[in-house]
Symmetry: C2
Subunit: 339 residues, 2 copies
DNA sequence: CTGAAAGCGCTTACAG
DNA sequence: CTGAAAGCGCTTACAG
């Protein structure tokens, strides 16, 4: 077992000072060609690599990005991470990931843990509980300490920082408009509870589309799912009671459950019932029928978020503090659940 | 903007030495009740937190685990990470994730990057390319430097380290045996190329099950998929030409494609064709029909891997160097793609 | 051209 | 009871 070699050891071995070794390895012109060669050869032989932690302490930057998301076993979030990771890696950054599990406390704990020097900046999406409590002190605190934060998807307007989002309301509007254009009149909405920011926005888009088209807005056609485990039953009731001809779901899981329930009730998709879902994921592509979705390009969101963060990290600290909100475009991907 | 406060600043402010501040905060009995109180109050007021990087350098341990996996947009891997993260967090560790993108070079680069002090140990699963090249020098090197490594799922026998796997061969055997028990005689296998360790093992299990049951082993019933994008066509041909009554797929993606293709060819699942897949993921649960799978509990694998790593990190370094291979149990989850 | 010193932020054995 | 010193592994302004 040959432990990693340090500058100190090389210096001792070569009988020069640590400074000389350090400078040689960094190709400082201060050092004679001769010593430089000697040191470099030795370092290579012993496979010397500078210790990241020491560098981080010295430079006061870690070259790592902290990511805090609600969960990782979730196609959209996995996709965003993948997008972040690629840009980060290209720029020489590592990525450290913490999961809040939709819990406020875990989110706070994780942020505090990472904020104590472990990372240079955050990329995050709020937990449900945080959105519910609307308590963002942990985030503003970090920002106040001068650590940049980029929020994506589930963001909060109250927080002043860079953001990457899609236009949830508009995208929902367009999806519903598409259903209306195809002659649908009774369009159900299966959404989340209102405190989830993106759920609320999508609900707004749905409502606006109905109103703009002079369609009746019927509260009874809206199902706000609180608990994913028991939603199948409620969706079944919705389909049964309400004589609907289309359904718009704010995520693909709701959509596939709608389709399953429709099947059980003898409704054919898309003939009797058209279905459009938000968030293009693996389920939409492989369910039967495949599901028409609003693409929400997680990779792009991740890329953008990483770029924004790194830009801020590498710009001259105190330049203009103007925060940007980047809107990633979406579009409808037509598949077999609509005609 | 109030920057993070350091011991030095507190010391200056309170006009005591840095040592005294440090000891006070750690409740050292060396320090008088009085100063201790004063320092602690002040620290609390300024919300002092020790700098992780400085601690890491001092303690020569980072309390973070490096994870290297082929990709993250993949239900199984996401699941494992989730399992690792939870145990890690409970034990006060963070988790830093790098993706190899199935590339040998990226895997090597990422390992080198993390091995230079950023982490205390690795949890990893090999990239396809690494398995193909069978070049593991980057891993043995890290191990030789005294950094513990735990491999999971795609492991290599050549590497001496802790491992977490399932019994791929046995699980495949049981799945195929189940098909045979239900009277299936011509069972197709859709698998990966042989260099993917788990693909090979599952293929072995399939083969053994056939032979043990005195069934004909027909090479033509085996499809080794190289490229996921073009496999649909080949699967179609397999279904068409071979008059098969069951199919065993080494992952759920292959399985759902089989089912889709079967549908196009007018074959009913499970009546005309039974399908079993490896790896229980989101697709299996929501495809139509739902898919019978071999559960491969990623969360459990992650938990176990994290526990093994942390145990090794926290045990007295040079205790017996006996490496363990932990086998996570699997079982068949019966759904609608089999009778 | 080389090296001693200071410093990044912390801890701890030791001296006083 | 308090503080100076050494050290974790590195870099760099400065002296020689």
């Amino acid at each position: 077992m040959k432990r990693k070699v340090t500058l100190k050891q090389i210096a001792k071995e070569l009988d020069v000072s640590i400074s000389t070794v350090s400078k040689s390895l960094r190709n400082s012109p201060e050092i004679s060609e001769d010593t430089r060669q000697k040191v470099q050869a030795f370092a290579k032989l012993y496979n010397y690599r500078p210790n990241n932690i020491a560098l981080s302490l010295k430079n006061r930057k870690t070259k790592t990005i902290g990511i805090i998301i609600p969960e990782i076993v979730h196609h959209f979030f996995a996709t965003v991470i993948s997008g972040i990771e690629h840009v980060a890696n290209e720029c020489g950054y590592s990525v450290i990931i913490c999961l809040s599990d939709e819990s406020f406390d875990k989110e706070v704990l994780n942020m505090e843990m990472l904020a104590n020097g472990s990372i240079d900046g955050f990329i995050m999406s709020l937990s449900k509980e945080t959105q519910f409590k609307a308590d963002f002190h942990h985030i503003t605190e970090v920002i106040n300490q001068g650590m940049p934060v980029v929020m994506f998807d589930r963001v909060a307007n109250e927080i002043l920082c860079d953001k990457v989002i899609i236009d949830d309301k508009m995208a929902a509007y367009e999806a519903v408009q598409n259903l209306i254009d195809h002659g649908k009149k009774r369009i159900a909405l299966v959404t989340t509870v209102d405190y989830v920011s993106v759920g609320k926005l999508r609900t707004d888009g749905y409502t606006k589309a109905l109103l703009d088209n002079g369609l009746e807005f019927d509260e009874d056609l809206i199902l706000k799912v609180e608990d994913i485990d028991t939603c199948a039953e409620k969706i079944g009731k919705l389909l049964q009671d309400r004589a609907i001809d289309a359904a718009f779901a704010v995520n693909e899981l709701f959509a596939v459950i709608i389709i399953k329930k429709a099947g059980e009730l003898g409704l054919r998709v898309p003939d009797d019932l058209s279905v459009i879902a938000f968030t293009d994921g693996i389920i939409s592509q492989y369910s039967t029928p495949t599901i028409t979705t609003v693409s929400q390009n997680g990779v792009k969101m991740g890329n953008k978020a990483a770029k924004m963060l790194i830009e801020r990290l590498e710009s001259d600290e105190h330049e203009e503090e103007r925060y940007r909100t980047e809107v990633i475009e979406t579009h409808l991907i037509h598949r077999d659940s609509t005609k």
